[in-house]
């Protein structure tokens, strides 16, 4: 699953650690999601969407 997490994070000039702190997860989790190694659960995807004030679909797409 592709995502725009890195772009959204860069727009706010947040580091992975900054985003991890806001989401209350480890920096490794943010890195794994950004690089597509790990797809977040629905609750975490909602948390990410809420943080960026957008919808889940605007961040995650099911394209390969």
């Amino acid at each position: 699953m592709k995502n725009r997490l890195r772009v959204l994070r860069a727009e706010r000039e947040w580091s992975q650690a900054d985003l991890a702190e806001r989401l209350e997860v480890s920096r490794q989790s943010v890195n794994a999601i950004e690089t597509g190694k790990y797809d977040p659960s629905l609750p975490l995807a909602f948390r990410i969407a809420r943080l960026f004030e957008t919808s889940i679909e605007a961040i995650f797409t099911d394209e390969d």
């Binding site: 997860v25 480890s26 920096r27 490794q28 989790s29 794994a32 999601i33 977040p40 659960s41």
Partner: protein
């Protein structure tokens, strides 16, 4: 009574970021250390007593024989508690993956050993080594997975 929180040690603060543990992982490491310590003490304690002529009979023999298993159960319980307490789902995912590596590793080892026992003169594999080997496979793969996803 609330369990005391193992604080981040000096070595943890100084260690690379990927080696730093979540609070739940620190509690797991703390509990696991005690369980392993108990396992070693009970195993070697029983061997020592046995070596020095302590050979209980009947139900007492059974009770003494399964004592180290209590420590093994404690390590499994601490793993289960970690999965319950870890709020970071990716870290949970890595831990579950490491358990699969541990199970896979011990199954391969015991299967290969079993076939070697059948057709070669290799020594007998004592089943009491199954759990320690599983724990080694699981722990090594957990750190390897954490390093790969650093």
């Amino acid at each position: 009574m609330k369990e005391s929180e193992p604080s981040m040690s000096w070595s943890q603060r100084r260690s690379p970021q990927w080696l730093q543990k979540t609070p739940a992982a620190r509690r797991y490491a703390f509990r696991l250390s005690w369980a392993i310590f108990a396992f070693v003490v009970l195993s070697f304690g029983l061997s020592y007593l046995s070596f020095h002529g302590f050979h209980p009979k009947g139900i007492v023999a059974y009770l003494f024989a399964v004592l180290p298993a209590i420590a093994i159960i404690a390590t499994l319980v601490s793993g289960g508690m970690y999965l319950g307490e870890e709020t970071d789902e990716f870290q949970r995912h890595l831990f579950v993956q490491s358990i699969l590596w541990g199970v896979g590793g011990i199954m391969v080892l015991t299967s290969v050993w079993g076939w070697l026992q059948l057709y070669t003169h290799i020594g007998h594999f004592f089943t009491i080594w199954t759990f320690p080997f599983f724990l080694v496979f699981q722990s090594v793969s957990w750190q390897a997975l954490r390093w790969r996803n650093r």
